[in-house]
Subunit: 305 residues, 5 copies
């Protein structure tokens, strides 16, 4: 095992060997094995946005095998999906790539104002499917946030006892934040901090914009001259906000966009000290060859090549 992986594991000193071993498994898989960097393929859009919105751009993606194969061929550290997508492939691809079972998911059918995901899987599922981690989404700022936090607390404790670490998707949203505020620097940094305080082992947030949402926070950012102009500065601040870089923070790319834009963004993310990228639509909505090329480029950037 590399010194860097050992160093990262040392930040999780209160965890049992099972949790550490699964964190190591994630870090020792794929093209980025040993670097302490991550590129994860997540495919939860089928549940979250519906099948056509998710898979019509690249109809191969209707097939659950497509995604796990994409993750394997690309050399991702892990593949994350809801229960059904994992069950459809976990047996046939057992041992091919670490799996992350996304335990809660929101759908877009019920048009409620506040996000309110359903818990669609369990720690028991994660074990029987051979997963290396569980995943869970919280919506800081939303009316239902406390119920989400309290369910997360129970799941982390349950997962930990059986050696599974937890990846938390932290998406500020809802009554407490403006639309623009969802990716405001102060809000994203705050979401990362909260996920870390609740015991998340890996934290996934969106790249923050050069915008400050909360008046009280804005004063502090200005008074202490926290740089917000470049994405790399903002990434650095978010990573710092997750226990001074002692928790693994990875960034999504958000909506699908062109390759140059994606790579430019990833370069900034890497320059800011992020631990990696989690790339869904930008990967699986492209034709496979293009997706592999893109993921290879993203990995190269994170590897510092």
């Amino acid at each position: 095992m590399t010194a860097r992986v050992k160093e990262i594991l040392s930040w999780y000193g209160s965890e049992n060997p099972g949790v550490k071993a699964n964190l190591a498994r994630l870090m020792n898989t794929g093209k980025l094995a040993g670097t302490g960097k991550f590129v994860i393929l997540p495919v939860d859009q089928g549940f979250e946005h519906g099948p056509a919105r998710s898979f019509a751009p690249n109809p191969a993606g209707y097939d659950p095998r497509y995604h796990v194969e994409l993750a394997i061929e690309a050399g991702c550290n892990a593949y994350a999906a809801p229960l059904g997508f994992l069950e459809a492939v976990a047996g046939d691809y057992a041992g091919d790539v670490p799996l992350i079972l996304k335990l809660n998911n929101s759908d877009s059918l019920a048009k409620v104002g506040e996000p309110c995901p359903a818990v669609t899987g369990s720690v028991e599922d994660a074990l029987r499917l051979g997963c290396a981690a569980i995943g869970y989404t919280i919506y800081p700022g939303s009316g239902e946030r406390n119920a989400q936090y309290e369910a997360l607390r129970d799941l982390i404790l349950e997962a930990k006892a059986v050696g599974l670490p937890t990846v938390v998707w932290a998406y500020p949203r809802g009554a407490g934040v403006s639309k623009e505020g969802e990716t405001a620097l102060d809000v994203v940094a705050y979401a990362a901090q909260m996920a870390a305080q609740m015991g998340a082992h890996i934290i996934k947030v969106k790249p923050p914009k050069d915008f400050l949402e909360q008046a009280e926070a804005k004063k502090v950012y200005e008074k202490y001259g926290i740089p917000t102009a470049t994405l790399r500065d903002r990434i650095r601040h978010v990573v710092q906000s997750a226990f001074n870089g002692r928790r693994i923070v990875i960034f999504s790319g958000g909506e699908a966009k062109g390759t140059p834009e994606v790579l430019a963004e990833v370069r900034e993310i890497a320059a800011g000290g992020a631990f990696g990228s989690i790339m869904g639509r930008n990967a699986f909505q492209r034709p496979k060859a293009e997706a592999l090329e893109l993921l290879a480029a993203v990995m190269a950037i994170h590897a510092g090549a």
Copy 2:
């Protein structure tokens, strides 16, 4: 063990030896060991106010190790924080300082009128992390107060059964009290009384102002000539309101301010018979050397030096 510590323990005559032993552990640690006085370092602002507002003034504080080391070096009786901050250090600093796991926390992202904290940890967490107590915040006067009281009741009972005492942060707030009333003498004294009636072993309130909120109470304060003019008088009344001084009541300093103001306030707090101070922002937002100097001065005051 000193006679004073034995005396304080005697006030908790219905508790099992485990709860008493942990109360003793808190009183026999640090520079104030044996005096029956407390200086506790609490760091929950990362969750409550966000990372930048909490740690930008002294960026060393983004690192979870900073705070536990500050508490150890300063000779505090205990270090209190939410789950994540404790997990990040409990293994490597096991046995170095008593830990208090703050079991509920409010965040500032959700702009709700009434405070509504999430329960982000459990008694089981407190045991596996080797904590000496649990902590819990109630908001007397708020719309959700009863849910908080009832959850507190269950947690106190659960914690007690495994030998853990409970520290209650009692912050009047919400629809039932005016902004000024949050630190009114009658309100703070009332909050301390309620915390004691619910079984709190240690009660944390804010220093009360010379203001009376409730008309019914005001009549009584005037009729019986309860002194309210000086802070030490008001502290004395709050301590009296917590079972005539037979429950441990400690006071926070509130917002960060200058050293002379902090020490002047602590002098009054000590003169009023408080059991100590719980000092967060005023400690960790200063550079470490200054913080150590300040905490030493605060301890000296409480020690009666």
Copy 3:
């Protein structure tokens, strides 16, 4: 055991021996032992009204030991209080006087229209503290009454299973009754009947006034010539309303007042066939010597001396 106590126990024929034994314990304690009469000292005002309003008139009462000692010295049948006050004394005074754990309490900080008490203790607490009964307050006529009734139902059942009887404080209040109606004869009698129907073993109500609140009821009181003019008549009607006197009904004195007024009222209460008095503020807000004198006089009245 006296024939009278046996007779009273015979009214509770469906109860298990544990419940009966604790009812007997209450009736065989203190100066009124064996008479089937009660004088109980309740001290929940610290939580309900705040510390200064409760204890400033007689500051010795800030100390939890004061009240249990008052109950013991006066020869009360029992001492009733919330969790914290009992925990502060139950160990050191174990076995000195039967304790009643008041399981729910309202506070006066939250200015809500409808009374909405929090459940601040449990049957488990009552057992570990060695209590002889649990206590619970309902607010017939209030918007939240059904939640209170349903919680009471569960608690009575739970308490009964472990041999604990239940004392119900029945205070009509809220949207369903006028201010004057809270002590209207028809309303108080109705509240006593409801408490008895819900399984209360001991019922505590306020002395009713010569006023009828409900139009439908008024017609009946007039048609059948139910006497309402004297307090003793009204007391007799309330006792009759609680299963024709086959449930123990005791009366409070309400707000603090002068000794002659208190004793005059108690004389009427006794003459009406009440099972006793429950006397809080009129006892503990007096200097101790006066309180002991007053309680002795009240007991003498109930003893028929």
Copy 4:
């Protein structure tokens, strides 16, 4: 993943993905990764034979770190040991090599005729320590065999539910077999069959000798001309006896001996179609350099190099 590993996994078609993923993990680790062959380092002799008999020949082995490091450096598929040896290293070496928790162990202090191992660990332990499998020893032919089989049945089912495969050490011994019969061909083949029938995922037996124990069996071996003369023939028969080669069967080397003898035996074992070797004393009782050399040679043989 190699086609061979996929093929082997296809034999375990009734298992959940978790069990398959852990079998894959064992097969994709170390120098033999991808070949479907195994070399496992087991160190349970400290418990089974005592410390001096186990570690005096190479005192470095008193230290629990020695063995896990030997397994890692040698490139073994897994390291198997009782609870204490795994606990001593699982945290610091998390993720470095798959661990197998041996759940039952016999000691040599109690001079009982029949082997009677104690269960010294649990599936829960295996999960929290991050193990890839559990291990369990049965003694076919012994008086206590049925208790062992029934405990094994429960453990396999429990382990399977959480994604853990089971390695069964099958050692014929006890009243039912003669001393020579313990390694008789018919007996070893029978033991392998029974382990497979009970649901073992990996079966560990001793290399069988050219001897037939049971009269009834002997007739059949002779009637059908089952070859028994060479070790490779006998190995082939044992592998055939474990579901015609569709269960992983590995062979131990037994007592410590010289390198040429060990390698000669391993060559026969490999030639007979075994899935690998499990090599304890012959590895850890040699000086480390020699052990690494030997293990490399053994792996080379199994790899078909």
Copy 5:
């Protein structure tokens, strides 16, 4: 905390912070605080041998307060006893000295050949009494050993989950060992190894004699020239046998004897690298002044003074 204590804690890398904190508590208490050495006072003879055999030599010891006070005044790291002795003192001496609840005990009334202790306490008891560890006795070599091992396994797992380490008394005895063999070097070393393999955090054995019990072991001791002549050599071998000194091994003094003999033995124990002494009868059967003098001398030896 001293570097030595930190080093010792590092050997327990798979444990949660709670277990580490309690190990630290044991090592940071008393006169040997910070040295990593232990002197523990155990008093289980009342149950094991009967009261007169235990306490008649120094009748002050009939009183449970005597022993805990002796441990406190002497500056022991901990006081170990069965449930009743701890319950008799844990409340009044809460926090004065770490307590170890001995969970199983054998009595001498039932004259059975094989030792067969009863489990007389629980992990729940240890928590409510505020203990820092549980204790458990195994009798390797006895007919009932496996039942003891399996109960121990469950207790260690249960205790660990709530942050309590386990002290194992390992006393070879029963059908498997001769009377002389109970303290044979090979047997004691084997018992220490087994305790460590079962997950004991602290191991207590008797000082081994210059005798080898088992023929198989004897060959090895002779072949490899393991020194057995001096007690310090034998102690060194036992400590080595407990994970090469990476588990805490402490030694009892056995039967009461004269001070010079005790100290001479302790000097050898310390010279052999033991982590300390556990001294019962030799301490509490002496008059208090003598006992304090003796314990001070024992501590001085372990401290290297």
